[in-house]
């Protein structure tokens, strides 16, 4: 810099301004803090506190009792079963429509219907299944009187593990269809043709190209469906009352009436739910980013 510049008139310094534009995001930030972040933090912190407020791992350790572990285990089993079956059936339906050479007009109505069905959860869904597969449900009666198949004699009960799984599938399958259809659309015709012309059989194309490309979407959706059924409370309560001890029902009862006899054990129970759905969703987001990069 030359010394002359000091003789030149000083440029008028811009008056210092508070970064006011940050204020525009303030209402949102306050809302999210008060009604999403802080309540969640309260639970997380509470899981590591004694009733007096000092740090402890006792609540977490308290989760490892037979009844609570079995509640988690049933929840996880139902979530895995409904996510896996939802993925497989949903994938088959989406693949049938996208790749199976079915008439084009089926696609629009199917996606619309999936949009509705994936939102049709909660209490009414439970009623629908009770009316269909319950003791006097449409299908139960039909199978018994017309085909001589007694579901109950076969060990099926709508208020059980399989009953809940079958019910959850009603929103899991459409959700899978909604998410996997774009991924199937993303499979370019040229990939199949390039593989064929390079000498690959149809099976080799699926094993080496199509399946690996779809795998992140598939696994990602599996994780999402898992979290989706793990957090479902209303359907479970409306269907089974409190007869099936899964984590959301247990937590519901705990919040209502401290059935565990230790308020901070409730925090730990909820914390466990956050951890499990958090892991599942992280897997989903990570895998989705990966497949989006490929299909760009």
């Amino acid at each position: 810099m030359s010394s002359d510049s000091s003789a030149a008139p000083q440029p008028t310094r811009a008056p210092f301004r508070l970064p006011l534009h940050w204020l525009g995001a303030l209402p949102f930030a306050i809302f999210v803090l008060l009604f999403l972040i802080l309540p969640t933090m309260r639970i997380v912190i509470g899981a590591f506190q004694t009733p007096e407020g000092s740090f402890t791992l006792e609540n977490i350790r308290g989760l490892f009792t037979t009844s609570i572990l079995s509640a988690y285990w049933i929840s996880i089993k139902i979530s895995i079963a409904s996510a896996l079956l939802g993925c497989l059936i949903g994938f088959s339906v989406a693949a049938a429509v996208v790749l199976g050479g079915l008439p084009k007009w089926i696609r629009g109505p199917l996606l619309t219907f999936s949009g509705v069905a994936s939102n049709f959860a909660g209490v009414p869904l439970a009623f629908a299944f009770l009316a269909t597969l319950g003791p006097v449900g449409l299908l139960t009666v039909f199978l018994r009187t017309e085909l001589g198949i007694d579901l109950r004699a076969l060990g099926f009960n709508i208020l059980s593990f399989w009953g809940l799984t079958v019910t959850y599938l009603f929103f899991q399958i459409p959700l899978m269809i909604l998410i996997i259809t774009p991924a199937l659309d993303g499979l370019k015709r040229e990939w199949r043709e390039a593989a064929q012309i390079l000498g690959a059989t149809n099976a080799q194309y699926w094993r080496l190209v199509a399946f690996p490309i779809l795998l992140p979407s598939f696994l990602g959706t599996l994780a999402l469906l898992f979290a989706n059924s793990f957090g479902a409370v209303a359907t479970a309560i409306a269907l089974t009352g409190s007869s099936l001890s899964i984590v959301p029902i247990l937590l519901f009862a705990q919040i209502r009436g401290d059935v565990l006899g230790n308020p901070h054990l409730g925090y730990a129970l909820a914390f466990g739910m956050i951890v499990i759905t958090g892991i599942a969703n992280t897997i989903y987001i990570w895998l989705r980013a990966r497949s989006e990069r490929w299909l760009k």
Partner: protein, 260 residues
């Protein structure tokens, strides 16, 4: 051969969708012994508890929608215009309600805003209603924010804003008269989805002890046989209605855009 497999998969899938709907409809019509009748519907619709809770939930849904629009539209607009660096964080935050189960969030509310806390919202009926509305707004946040943000992406908000400012418009005018009409379709889509979520929501309303439609349905389901099926049919129709309206609105927007 290949087609046969495809038709098979589709048929199994469709049966899965249709049988429960058939089951609940069939059941809802069988209240009178031996004949199909609409008795179950008449009983439900005539139940004052039904009317009360249904009206309560509709009011809650409307309040949630108004609050959600007022919160989300200015924020999404402002973030796109002035704070684009914040977008990934906001997006992450708006996805959190999908990760944290509703039961956990409401558990946090009960502990945080009880009568002995600094903000005793659960201490009064009005306070609890407001808390429930905030809870619903949280549940609807992922859908509302994404819908509006996608809507904003398709218009050039920077140019629109500068044009409005050069004509002397203030922020309120810009938001109400320029931005909102341009993202109206996105806002409506978010609103209908919010409506569908709020109207049948069970967990939050039950744990905050508010007389909403969701808990009423659950209560009825525990005590009655045919009426719950009628309720299920009605809420399915309601969900269809809301999502049908979304389709209709977005089709209308496509029509407008292609005409422009």
């Amino acid at each position: 051969m290949k087609k046969l497999w495809a038709w098979g998969a589709l048929t199994v899938g469709l049966l899965y969708f249709i049988l429960p709907l058939l089951g609940m409809t069939n059941f809802s019509l069988k209240m009178r012994r031996g004949v199909y009748s609409l008795d179950a519907y008449a009983v439900v619709l005539g139940d004052p508890r039904f009317q009360e809770t249904f009206v309560f939930s509709i009011l809650m849904a409307l309040a949630t929608i108004i609050f959600g629009v007022l919160l989300v539209v200015p924020t999404a607009y402002w973030v796109r215009l002035k704070l684009p660096g914040l977008r990934p964080y906001i997006e992450f935050v708006t996805l959190l309600p999908l990760v944290i189960p509703a039961i956990v969030i409401v558990f946090g509310y009960i502990r945080l805003y009880n009568t002995s806390s600094w903000l005793p919202l659960t201490g009064s009926i009005t306070g609890t209603n407001i808390l429930l509305m905030f809870g619903y707004a949280t549940l609807a946040l992922p859908y509302m924010y994404r819908s509006v943000d996608t809507g904003l992406r398709s218009i050039d908000i920077a140019t629109l804003t500068e044009a409005a400012q050069s004509l002397g418009a203030g922020w309120t005018t810009i938001l109400a008269k320029i931005i909102l009409p341009n993202v109206l379709v996105a806002v409506l889509s978010g609103a209908f989805l919010t409506f569908a979520i709020v109207i049948g929501e069970f967990t939050m309303a039950a744990l905050l002890n508010r007389p909403a439609f969701g808990p009423y349905m659950q209560l009825l389901g525990a005590n009655r046989a045919y009426e719950p099926a009628a309720l299920a049919v009605m809420s399915f129709a309601l969900t269809w209605g809301c999502l049908g309206l979304i389709q209709l609105v977005s089709r209308f927007q496509k029509g407008v855009q292609s005409a422009a």
